[in-house]
């Protein structure tokens, strides 16, 4: 482009800014809000999607969710916790499946392994940093045997951790615990201290709930669960397993019934839930962005109409329609780019000051790139409309109209 035109564009932009500062400020604010909304919307949608995908352990056909229900009035218990898999709080308060009994079953090879969330215990952990600990609300996952917990090779990692008697923690716990990692200590109240031997799960923050994976052998309390995730041995029958678990549960309460759902079914329900919520998040973000763009559309129309006098005069002295389009697009690009930057700064500030300490998943690249693409598309569409406005009318009529 001709450098003279660039200088003229910049001069025109500054002139408009001086004439209509508040109009520009509003336009800019609207687009910045849209940027922030879209970034969070896209990021959350991606996070909740990846959260499901990332947490799906392999071997789904050997994975079962075994739940003990008290028969009267048990339905209400279905609507529990949002965490994927059986890591969520179990329905029913009773500790129907005792830890020792489950461990025995693994040792007798009736199943390959299990894991459950220890309830009724204090699950706060003390992170022994330099001098003082820090209390964190974390989930305590007790496991034994083959326990993938997360996708990938977590089963092997957890087996190693179990051998050495330490614990594993996930990245969310590290993130919330000021970067605590392997070789640091974790104290499970009251009293027992464990060394962190491994980090598991997705590093990128899709899994926002801090978790401590503790081997059943090292777990200092006799406890149990009403919901447990089991891996049955290859070739074993789930009916036999359910039968022995039923028998055990009947010792605790005679009104209890035991149900086993395929891992896929159990996860499937949550995938649906998470999909809906990610759709809703993305939808809300889209609505905010649409409102901001409508607002931007109105203001750019105003902007261009206020610049029409200058543009008409430039047409009169020989600016071609293409040159006029460069003027309009440059104006819009300056505004769009600056609001993109401002929006991202706002995103960073909101995340750093508030979201990070509240367990909301972090902003993702897809969120940032997606937002940039939407802003780009919006700028191109608005620009095309405004170029038409500035170019289609005869210059004589524009000059007359813009006196």
């Amino acid at each position: 482009m001709n450098p003279g035109i660039a200088i003229d564009i910049w001069a025109g932009f500054r002139g408009q800014l001086r004439r209509d500062f508040w109009g520009v400020a509003l336009l800019w604010l609207g687009l910045s809000v849209a940027t922030a909304a879209l970034t969070f919307g896209f990021s959350m949608a991606e996070s909740s999607y990846k959260c499901i995908v990332g947490l799906l352990p392999g071997d789904l056909d050997r994975l079962y969710c075994v739940t003990a229900f008290e028969r009267p009035g048990t339905l209400a218990l279905e609507a529990m916790g949002p965490a994927p898999g059986c890591l969520s709080p179990a329905p029913g308060d009773g500790e129907y499946f005792a830890l020792s009994m489950l461990s025995d079953m693994v040792d007798r090879k009736e199943m390959d392994g299990f894991f459950f969330v220890a309830r009724g215990k204090t699950v706060e952990v003390m992170l022994d940093g330099a001098d003082s600990g820090r209390e964190l609300n974390a989930e305590l996952v007790v496991y034994h045997g083959y326990a993938p917990v997360y996708a990938g090779d977590t089963a092997q990692v957890l087996a190693k951790v179990s051998e050495k008697g330490g614990v594993a923690v996930n990245w969310a716990l590290s993130c919330h615990g000021g970067g605590v990692g392997t070789d640091d200590m974790v104290r499970v109240s009251p009293g027992s201290t464990f060394s962190i031997m491994a980090m598991v799960g997705s590093r990128t923050g899709y899994d926002p709930r801090p978790r401590v994976m503790i081997p059943a052998r090292a777990f200092p309390y006799e406890t149990g669960a009403s919901e447990v995730t089991v891996y049955i041995s290859g070739g074993a029958s789930v009916h036999r397993l359910t039968a022995s678990l039923s028998e055990a549960a009947a010792k605790v309460s005679n009104s209890v019934s035991v149900q086993a759902a395929r891992g896929e079914d159990a996860y499937g329900r949550q995938i649906k839930q998470a999909r809906t919520s990610s759709l809703i998040t993305a939808g809300v973000a889209a609505v905010i962005a649409a409102v901001a763009y409508a607002n931007a559309g109105i203001f750019t129309t105003l902007w261009v109409s206020e610049r029409l006098r200058g543009l008409a005069l430039r047409r009169a002295v020989g600016a071609t329609p293409g040159t006029i389009a460069i003027y309009v697009m440059s104006d819009l690009t300056i505004i769009a780019l600056s609001s993109l930057v401002a929006g991202y700064v706002a995103v960073w500030a909101i995340w750093a000051l508030w979201f990070r300490t509240n367990g909301v998943p972090m902003v993702t690249w897809i969120g940032l790139v997606g937002t940039s693409l939407v802003m780009l598309l919006g700028t191109v569409i608005l620009g095309a409309v405004q170029c038409r406005l500035a170019n289609k009318t005869e210059p004589a009529l524009l000059l007359r109209r813009t006196v």
Binding site: N2, G12, G15, Q16, L313, A316, V317, G318, T320
Partner: protein, 232 residues
């Protein structure tokens, strides 16, 4: 050479059509200085815009040096405006966000001149209109007469073949207006082939040009040398 043949400009609004100009047929040979007079609403500005390719005729043919330009695309018309036309309007002339010199340089930017050539040409043009040394001021810092002189400098800086002035003295007091007219005539005298068309209400101004067109209701009612036409 300008040639208009049965040129009509109609303005359409909803379901009514108003005639702004025409039918008008006239020729202006190279080098002629023409005054256009007539009451407000007579179609003077519309005629000027049509000649300057700022507006397209609804029907009729406009030939510029024998080439039909009535149906050209906006892009080709803008190139003709850039290379062959210079405009001076009554108002809305200069851009406040630019310096005086930048205002004058504007047509040269679109012609693709280098910045040093632009600055030199703008300086010469400003010298010619008696505004040496005012190039760095903003347009709004000048008086009305000075602003109109800047506009004239901008109109001539690209050495146009046709100069079109729509009531250039309309907003000025009569002595300043007389200076502007004298300036326009001086500039016109310097290049023998340049056409000058000036819309004016002022009979004294019209008297100084080669030819006068008297317009009413979109039509050219009289056309001739000033002595004959203005005598009536």
């Amino acid at each position: 050479m300008i040639g208009l043949f049965g040129v009509i400009r109609d303005y359409h609004a909803r379901d009514t059509t108003a005639r702004g100009l025409g039918p008008v047929s006239l020729e202006i040979p190279a080098g002629q200085a023409v005054a256009v007079v007539g009451a407000s609403g007579a179609g003077k500005s519309t005629l000027l815009s049509t000649i300057g390719l700022l507006d397209s005729p609804t029907s009729g043919v406009y030939r510029l040096d024998g080439i039909d330009v009535s149906g050209l695309s906006e892009k080709r018309r803008s190139v003709i405006r850039r290379d062959r036309m210079g405009f001076v309007f009554q108002r809305y002339n200069l851009l406040d966000e630019l310096t005086v010199s930048q205002n004058v340089e504007l047509p040269l930017i679109y012609q693709g001149c280098s910045s040093s050539r632009r600055r030199e040409a703008a300086r010469l043009a400003l010298d010619k209109v008696g505004l040496s040394g005012k190039g760095r001021l903003r347009a709004w810092q000048l008086s009305g007469g000075e602003q109109q002189r800047v506009a004239i400098a901008r109109a001539v800086v690209g050495k146009p073949q046709i100069m079109l002035c729509d009531e250039p003295t309309g907003n000025l007091d009569s002595s300043t207006g007389q200076l502007i007219i004298k300036l326009l005539l001086d500039i016109h005298g310097e290049s023998p082939n340049r056409i000058l068309v000036v819309v004016t209400h002022n009979v004294g101004v019209a008297r100084q040009l080669d030819r006068v067109l008297v317009m009413r209701d979109g039509l050219v009612m009289q056309d001739g040398i000033p002595q004959e036409v203005l005598a009536q």
